[in-house]
């Protein structure tokens, strides 16, 4: 089916094929990652050498520093992690894993990508408008972001085409795009599973993708309302967040973090899903606690809606309420600990093939563990009084979001590359890339924990004004972090080279199922054509049937989901 010829435009640009749309999300996400990574290099360089000229950039004034930090945060979360983890991985994998030809609404899928593309264009434009890009922190806290002290009559057009307003508009477009994509994911999952693919036989990744978009859908409403009000404060001169007109700046923080905290799980779930596929395949062992993982995720989603105020322990909220949020915050660590331990239990007792995707999975577990455990310090409301807004927080969320975004993406990349490219990557360069990323990341983020514990506040253009923050070891640690960050960025060029060369010149895969996995995407041709399958598969079992078995007289240690055994 679906073999009709397509012009270049309908095949690659305005395509409705889920794989092409996935690739489009991926490319835009990677370009934005390059921009955000370059910004990180510039301001990290400035932090280590405050007076030096920055190669490839020049000098950096505090306003531009704030703008770079703000843009780095916003881009990495909303234009790198969201499109790559949720949209790209979801688009590539959900239809193929479910054994179907495409998403439920291919046109909506295309539309959601183009709305996303527009949002990316708007956010990049916001950097070049008169007055410069937005510099008020990616959390958009008013009144700093609202520019509206008793200003009931701003110049509408000028205010609209200012950095801050464009960032808010871009966010709104991005959210609309992700909502469309999310609805598509859910309808596809409910409606388009292959014959025999009951919910309890779905690969865990499909579950996690749906958890991700459900979490997004249920948490994004408040921040959409809040961002609209913020936009009105900027362009129409309303006073929703102006304390002198009865408004309340803290209100925005509530609306923002009601979304902002679940957002972390929106990003974490796809990565957990990727790991849930990779780990059993390479440990040659069934996933431990499939049903438990699903249940724990649902508990975590519910809890994630009642933890938001832990970002505001020092923002004058009622101390008794703070204890409530602190309890919620530490409770939510328990289901996630269960999931991580389940993955470790999957590895335990297996027959482990340490192929490259498995290295990334193990690297993710080890790194994310530190990120999760340092959350204990911040979840404790008392210690958070001290640690809040210091570099400790910066190190903590880089230790969570970096493994989520990049270890998650690269694990998925190396695992599914043979399938979607039909060719193999260079294993040596891949290992080099892994060790470079793993080591330089630790060297980059670990020193920042110590700087934070010593009281270094975050988001400061330079620390030269503060004598106690300019001790020798502070300066050295900043240098170590900066040099490691630069090496970390440079390491990614190994991957880029490997990616491009392997895409054109890599060895063709000899089997459609090189990892001997069980899920349905491995039963499709490599790369899957438009429509994915030649014969639509029928499913007979769950996706994690690993372990030595006799099939038709030959010994094997896996049985694909769609293989019918002789009774």
């Amino acid at each position: 089916m679906a073999t009709h010829t397509q012009s270049f435009w309908t095949k690659y640009i305005f395509s409705q094929d889920h794989k092409v749309i996935g690739a489009q999300y991926l490319i835009v996400g990677l370009i934005m990652a390059a921009v955000a990574g370059f910004f990180a290099y510039v301001f990290r360089y400035h932090l280590a050498y405050p007076d030096a000229e920055i190669p490839l950039w020049g000098t950096l004034d505090p306003r531009t520093y704030n703008m770079l930090v703000t843009t780095h945060g916003a881009l990495m979360i909303f234009w790198v992690a969201m499109p790559i983890l949720v949209a790209a991985i979801g688009n590539f994998l959900i239809p193929t894993m479910l054994g179907t030809d495409d998403m439920a609404f291919p046109f909506l899928n295309m539309l959601s990508f183009w709305v996303f593309f527009l949002s990316a264009v708007v956010v990049v434009t916001s950097l070049f408008v008169p007055g410069g890009g937005f510099d008020g922190g990616w959390t958009l806290y008013p009144p700093l972001s609202a520019d509206a002290y008793l200003n009931t009559n701003p110049d509408f057009w000028k205010a609209l085409f200012s950095g801050g307003s464009l960032v808010i508009l871009a966010l709104a477009l991005e959210f609309a795009s992700m909502l469309m994509g999310g609805i598509n994911f859910m309808v596809t999952t409910i409606n388009k599973r292959a014959r025999g693919m009951s919910f309890s036989r779905m690969p865990i990744l499909v579950w996690f993708m749906n958890f991700s978009v459900v979490t997004f859908m249920f948490s994004v409403g408040p921040v959409i309302a809040g961002a609209l009000m913020l936009l009105l404060d900027r362009v129409a001169g309303t006073g929703f967040y102006d304390a002198y007109r009865g408004g309340d700046p803290i209100l925005f923080q509530h609306l923002f973090w009601f979304f902002g905290h679940p957002e972390v799980y929106v990003l974490l779930f796809p990565t957990l899903g990727v790991m849930g596929e990779i780990i059993p395949t390479f440990a040659r062992k069934p996933l431990f606690g499939y049903k438990f993982i699903i249940g724990a995720s649902i508990v975590a989603i519910i809890l994630s809606m009642v933890v938001w105020a832990h970002h505001q322990f020092v923002a004058g909220i009622n101390p008794y309420m703070a204890v409530f949020f602190s309890v919620g915050t530490i409770l939510i660590s328990i289901p996630f600990a269960g999931i991580i331990l389940s993955y470790v239990a999957t590895i335990f007792g297996g027959n482990i093939r340490l192929e490259l995707p498995m290295w990334w999975a193990v690297g993710f577990l080890a790194t994310f563990l530190i990120g999760g455990l340092t959350g204990l310090y911040l979840g404790s409301n008392t210690f958070d009084i001290y640690a809040h807004d210091t570099s400790f927080v910066v190190a903590h969320f880089h230790y969570t979001l970096f493994p989520i975004t990049f270890f998650g993406f690269f694990a998925a990349f190396y695992y599914w590359f043979p399938k979607y490219a039909g060719r193999m990557y260079n294993d040596f360069l891949g290992k080099l890339h892994f060790w470079g990323t793993f080591i330089f990341f630790q060297l980059f983020a670990l020193p920042i924990f110590f700087l934070g514990l010593n009281g270094q506040p975050r988001r400061m253009a330079d620390y030269t004004a503060f004598e106690t923050l300019m001790q020798d070891w502070h300066i050295q640690f900043r240098e170590i972090a900066t040099i490691s960050a630069i090496l970390l960025i440079l390491t990614q060029f190994i991957w880029l080279y490997n990616f491009i060369v392997s895409l054109w010149k890599g060895k063709r895969v000899s089997s459609d199922n090189p990892w001997q996995a069980n899920t349905l995407e491995w039963q499709a041709p490599s790369p899957p054509p438009h429509g994915n399958f030649e014969v639509y598969p029928e499913v007979y079992r769950d996706p994690y049937t690993f372990g030595v078995v006799q099939v038709n007289g030959t010994k094997r240690d896996f049985i694909p989901q769609n293989e019918k055994l002789p009774s």
Binding site: A104, R193, M217, G221, P222, I224, A225, G226, G246, F258
Partner: protein, 198 residues
């Protein structure tokens, strides 16, 4: 554009997607309303401002929307039997009601604005009644956002009428009717909160 060919479950895709969309919309409006209510509790003086809204026009508009919802439901009923003429008639009546709603709303807006109760109400701010001005900001924000949804609904109904006229996509009448009921439902929440709660 045709949706894809392989669909093995018999859940109507459009309806499912629309329910999800409605859930998303209700959360957006819900959170805006919660914010309004929290501030309403903080500022008792908002009662006096709410008294200045045009209660009878608001009540009339509520009635108009309820009637329009009834027409939308009738259109859906007719669409199940593919009665083209009936569907078109009821959808036109729905559109008419929607337009009346927007007309009355814009009359209310112009009247309020001529009295100085604008989006930012600078007069109130200068008189030191910042909180009262905030009520009007909320009034315009909530009703404006709702009016925007009415407008989107009207455009969507227009498209559906075009399809039905060409004997296509009768099942989409149900979708647009669902959306219209949601718009109606939101107004039913907004009306007492902004007009009655004095």
């Amino acid at each position: 554009m045709q949706s894809t060919t392989v669909s093995l479950r018999r859940v109507p895709q459009g309806r499912l997607a629309l329910w999800l969309l409605i859930a998303g919309e209700l959360i957006i409006f819900g959170s805006a309303i919660v914010v309004y209510l929290l501030l309403r509790l903080r500022y008792p003086e908002w009662g006096a401002e709410a008294a200045k809204t045009h209660l009878s026009l608001g009540a009339f508009n509520t009635l108009v929307l309820l009637v329009s919802s009834y027409f939308a439901a009738k259109a859906h009923e007719a669409s199940l039997k593919k009665l083209k003429g009936k569907v078109l008639r009821y959808l036109s009546l729905t559109v008419l009601c929607g337009l009346i709603f927007l007309g009355v709303k814009s009359y209310e807006y112009t009247e309020k604005i001529s009295h100085g109760y604008t989006f930012t109400s600078p007069k109130l701010v200068e008189a030191g009644q910042g909180a009262a001005a905030l009520f009007w900001s909320f009034y315009y924000f909530l009703t404006g956002l709702h009016a925007l949804h009415v407008l989107v609904g009207l455009i969507a109904i227009g498209f559906i009428m075009y399809y039905v006229k060409n004997n296509k996509h009768f099942h989409r009448v149900e979708l647009v009717a669902l959306y219209w009921h949601m718009v109606d439902l939101i107004w039913i929440f907004l009306f007492p909160l902004l007009y009655i709660m004095q």
